[in-house]
């Protein structure tokens, strides 16, 4: 018997019981749809995390001070004061494969404009900060090297600070007071939104590094040095070179620990990606369970269908249908349910994913892999859960089947 013939018979049989076929398919439709929608949410989260980490700057190494230790009393991480601007310059000059080096200091201050005030983080930076953090200045200009050398009292502010202190006014050219000292605003940053950790990246005031160190905070060290490596392959190499250089400069004996930490944003990204992959898998497998339940639904209906059509099976057998013919007929029927359910499920899943991203506020990413996988799975489920009923049908004794009322 031809394969196309079997498919035709299966579709005829399914059409004969439209409502039941649709309800059976519904299990598969929901299962496949859920897998696709859930995985697309997971993938969306993952993409969001990746872009926001990338927005911190790609290929980034961050050097921060370690804990201080004086007379056996160890301070908190970051309390060490030995990381200096000189270290940053040394890294810039001595280590290859580096695009930018950006030392920063930061502290929280109240920023005041007239009767408006706002508590925010003030960061002292060098001009490289703009490039390394891929920031753009919306209006006005950014800090220059001249500002740095003359320790000018100028500031660049983020969108959140601008709207809180100046509401609709253009802040460029205005003065704000930070720690009771006036600073002239020379630029406003383009909005960057939230970071992956939920931090508002627009809630920031940027001043020249030297101004921050000497005029504002009264310190001689830096809080962190961000380094952008030119080649992602060289991350580890550059990291160890920086560690060696800083150990030399800080004269750390070989049996002592580092007084600084070098963090690798790429490895942070990897960790985050791993986490989001786990989330995706979790969401996907929860949805896959509903697909499995849908499969049991198919089996259930096929069993009923076999019992109901016992007489038909008897007739077909009397007319010469072999075990294989009957087996194929019922198997194809359940596979057709799987295939059609799978296709409708894919459409529904994609629509659901789009609806979620449009109305639910999640980013969703529809990829081919879960579509193919869940479709293959639904066909497989049709096949697997069809085997038992089909075999039951094919094993029926023709005489008993013909006698069945």
């Amino acid at each position: 018997m031809l394969f196309s013939e079997s498919i035709r018979i299966a579709i005829t049989a399914l059409l004969a019981n439209k409502l039941r076929s649709i309800l059976t398919m519904l299990g598969i439709i929901i299962g496949v749809g859920a897998v696709i929608a859930m995985v697309s949410i997971g993938m969306g989260v993952r993409q969001q995390v990746q872009t926001s980490i990338a927005s911190l700057g790609s290929n980034m190494l961050i050097v921060s001070p370690g804990s201080s230790s004086s007379g056996g009393v160890r301070g908190a991480a970051g309390s060490n004061v030995k990381l200096k601007l000189d270290d940053s310059d040394a890294i810039k000059n001595k280590i290859k494969n580096i695009d930018y080096v950006s030392p920063t200091v930061s502290s929280s201050y109240q920023v005041v404009n007239g009767n408006q005030n706002w508590n925010t983080t003030v960061q002292g930076v060098t001009p490289e900060f703009l490039l390394i953090r891929s920031l753009t200045v919306g209006s006005g200009s950014f800090i220059t090297n001249a500002d740095l050398t003359s320790r000018n009292r100028v500031a660049v502010i983020g969108k959140t600070v601008a709207s809180n202190l100046f509401s609709d006014m253009n802040p460029v050219g205005q003065n704000v007071r930070i720690n009771n000292t006036p600073y002239k605003i020379i630029g406003v940053l383009e909005s960057k939104g939230q970071s992956s950790m939920g931090q508002d990246q627009d809630d920031i005031v940027i001043v020249p590094l030297t101004t921050g160190q000497e005029r504002l905070m009264g310190i001689t060290y830096v809080k962190s040095i961000n380094i952008q490596v030119s080649d992602p392959e060289k991350m580890d190499q550059v990291q160890s070179e920086i560690e060696t250089l800083l150990r030399q400069r800080h004269r750390i004996l070989s049996d002592k620990d580092d007084d600084f930490t070098v963090r690798n944003l790429t490895s942070l990204m990897e960790t985050m990606t791993q986490t989001t992959t786990m989330i995706t898998l979790l969401l996907g497998s929860v949805a896959a369970i509903s697909l499995l339940v849908g499969g049991i639904g198919i089996m259930n209906i096929m069993m009923v269908s076999v019992t109901e059509r016992t007489r038909e099976i008897g007739i077909r057998k009397a007319l010469g249908a072999t075990f294989q013919n009957i087996m194929m007929q019922f198997l194809i029927e359940s596979v057709v349910i799987g295939v059609i359910g799978g296709i409708i499920g894919i459409v529904f899943g994609c629509l659901a994913a789009m609806a979620i991203s449009k109305f639910g506020g999640f980013t969703t990413v529809i990829t081919v892999a879960p579509i193919l996988l869940s479709f293959g799975f639904s066909v497989g489920i049709g096949l697997f859960f069809g085997i038992y009923p089909a075999r039951k049908a094919a094993l029926l004794d023709p005489i008993d089947a013909l006698r069945y009322e």
Partner: protein
């Protein structure tokens, strides 16, 4: 195409009792014979019919169909034998209710592996032959009993089997339809088909040239043996 049964027994185990539905049948039906199997219910004539129709296997004994021993064939081989050599006509027609008369008639050809076009042509030919050419697109429930049985006969004929097994073919029909159906069998016999008819109505049995009476699993009477129509 000859049928030769020797020492056929069919024994059922019911609880700890053994019941012999057929108790030593020896029967020889020649090609072209029109035989009627008669007997009261419980006599074993249906069991005999099932064995003759290759729907069932005897417990012991030998069944030679056209020189081939079929008593020991497997399920699938029996299915192929039924498909090729035997056409069935049942009391309750046994048509598939969801497909047209035309497709019903073509059904044995599906399992014979005949391509669709040829299948539909053959089916149309045999529907014409039983006088239902104009109603071939009707579903069985849109046809009268007599018409349904004619569809079933067309189906039995479509794969050109040598043997037609008819199990109470007029059991559900009125007298007029019964006469029409039996006339078709008479014609088929005249065309050289071997026909085995199961009936409990004596007037229907008179259409057959040979009457066999089955009682308690044995053939107790055998009349008109060997009357074969000349092939027209």
């Amino acid at each position: 195409m000859t049928i030769r049964l020797s020492g056929i027994k069919k024994i059922y185990q019911i609880g700890d009792q053994t019941v012999a539905a057929l108790d030593g049948i020896d029967l020889h039906i020649k090609k072209g014979e029109f035989s009627a199997l008669m007997g009261p219910s419980g006599s074993g004539k249906s069991t005999l019919m099932n064995i003759l129709g290759c729907l069932d296997r005897p417990t012991v004994g030998s069944y030679e169909l056209d020189g081939e021993e079929v008593a020991k064939l497997g399920d699938d081989e029996l299915a192929v034998t039924r498909n090729k050599k035997i056409g069935f006509v049942f009391q309750n027609f046994n048509l598939l209710s969801r497909i047209s008369a035309w497709e019903n008639v073509a059904l044995p050809l599906v399992y014979a592996g005949v391509p669709k076009k040829e299948r539909m042509e053959k089916a149309a030919y045999f529907l014409d032959a039983v006088g239902l050419g104009s109603r071939r697109d009707h579903q069985p429930n849109e046809l009268s009993g007599g018409q349904r049985q004619r569809v079933a006969i067309a189906r039995a004929l479509v794969n050109d089997p040598r043997i037609i097994m008819a199990d109470e073919p007029t059991g559900n029909l009125d007298t007029k339809s019964s006469t029409e159906i039996m006339e078709i069998f008479r014609k088929l016999h005249a065309e050289g088909k071997t026909i085995i008819l199961v009936t409990h109505e004596p007037e229907i049995a008179t259409y057959a040239s040979r009457q066999l009476l089955v009682r308690d699993g044995k053939i107790t009477r055998d009349e008109g043996k060997g009357v074969v129509m000349d092939v027209v």
